[in-house]
Amino acid sequence: MSQTTTGITTLTGTACPLDQANVDTDQIIPKQFLTSVSRAGFGKHLFHDWRYLDLEEKEPNPEFVLNKPEHQGAAILLARENFGCGSSREHAPWALTDFGFKAVIATSFADIFYGNCMNNQLLPIALSSSEMDVLFAAVAKDASAVISIDLPAQTVSVGDTSMSFEIAEHHKNNLVKGLDAIGQTLELTDDIESFEAKQPAWL
């Protein structure tokens, strides 16, 4: 099997607390930045409307959590339910990873965004609302609080608290091993060909 990226096993870092539900992909990366034909360079536009007071991105909004000095360099983004809802744009995980996030921990995720994360080595972790409260409280108390994620063990820890999370086995494998999904499927070309041979002619 071909391996194109480095896999994720453990992640340790500080977190940026975006205490909001229904953060949609239009907010994560607005449409005016979708005209690019490459995957790179979206990080500087991440959360553009909330992050900047002007269209030219020269005036950072000091009130927005991503701009707070104490959250610079955070590797983990915290949010509430239905994170990544709306458009299927993969530019959203591209912007988050380009900015430097390695994981998003939220109460729940929209389906397409969740799948897109898996294809970009961005780890989406869903925890219960009360578990999210624990993480938000820890970061509110101390912005330098370190959160540790152990993907093989499926745990998130902060201080003395350890919480477990669910992830499908195939998603975990792909993230841990950093496998090339297309390369894997191309190994099944014989199966694909026999499936096609059985399809009706009018399709």
């Binding site: 229904n22 979708l34 034909v37 709306g86 458009s87 929209a110 294809n119 002619a201 009018w202």
Partner: protein, 466 residues
Amino acid sequence: MAKTLYDKVWQAHIISQLGDDSLIYIDRHLIHEVTSPQAFAGLNEKGRKVRRPDRTFATMDHSISTRSLALDACGPQNKLQLQTLAENCEEHGVKLFPVGHQKQGIVHVMGPELGLILPGMTVVCGDSHTATHGAFGALAFGIGTSQVEHVLATQTLKQSRGKTMQIKVNGKLAVGITAKDIILAIIGKIGHAGATAHVIEYCGEAIEALSMEERMTICNMSIEAGAKAGMIAPDQTTFDYLKGREFAPQGADWDAAVEYWQTLYSDDDAGFDTVVELEAKDITPQVTWGTNPGQVIGVNDPVPGPDDFTDSVEQESARKALQYMGLKAGEKLGDVPVSHVFIGSCTNSRIEDLRAAAHIAKQGKVAANVTAMVVPGSAAVKRQAEEEKLDVIFKDAGFEWRLPGCSMCLGMNDDLLTAGDRCASTSNRNFEGRQGRGARTHLVSPAMAAAAALRGKFADVRDFQE
């Protein structure tokens, strides 16, 4: 064992089972300029080919001007993206309907009108509104660009089976109520994330009575309830719509296809993970008041406030939404002036939508405080509308009549609002900034949008019925 419609289509496409995941075959792949360039670049880097160019169709819709057919009308970056699509399609042998082509249109309008979408198919596109095609009893869903690349290279996707949700709309709709009102009422009831991880099947008397275009409006917004996909069982309405369309089967193939399509329904005793029921007679003209499509009310209802919600997250969302939308709890939308009206998008830009809007438009003139535009969903819709002189009705009433494209639904071209603008829009998302930074979007049906244009405020379309 009894099966749902979704189970039948899903199981018919499993190539192999890979642990808790299935490798499923994709029958139809639609592509456009925004979410495909990085996928083709990925293929080219690895020296991979498009496995089935014959099952892949492309159009230009998101980044194009609705004022000019020139590719550079919206600047060099948009032009580069459009040219990149043209080059990729040329290199990989994919059929493209570019700007100016008689078959060009919004991808979810163009596909069905050409007969590219058939019952029982699996259909994907790098666009969340791919759910539209479930109206034909296809399993259709939006995918990210890495998955676009995966489908281009292999004509397959790895997917987990979704949960099932049945949404039954009983009885008959009241006069003046449209498919858009049904789907907004559904999202209002189950919430913006109410169908996450589910594939919805819409059924019941009110759904069965809908035309294909109305069914597309319903399925289109499945994603706005968080669903993976939305489906409606094919019936005679479906077959009548498809017969004779360019890419639909013909002759003996047609008969064989219909025979198969008639097996695509949920068995009587099939179980669903979740069941939701609505009474059609209770549905009134819907208008969103907030910043997600679940924040919706009847046009005559008061705008809710945080105290109307019990959940603390919803309370906070309502507080934030009211602030962004410049509305107060208790306010009536009938008192709220609009500055813009947009009739278009993959939700509501088909010929029946334009007829419904024109029926209202001919009853007056666009109010002095309103800028109103109509953007047909495809070149074919535009031709048909002009043949019926709907363009004349719109222009006489003071609406702008534009070229087909996604336009102000997301404003990737120059059809953009500015901060503080308030728009009655027939599109699908009222997110903050969706139609322009600081702009306020209210989702409505085409008739309601036209009524708002004439009145200059939100209006009850039932007051316009002749």
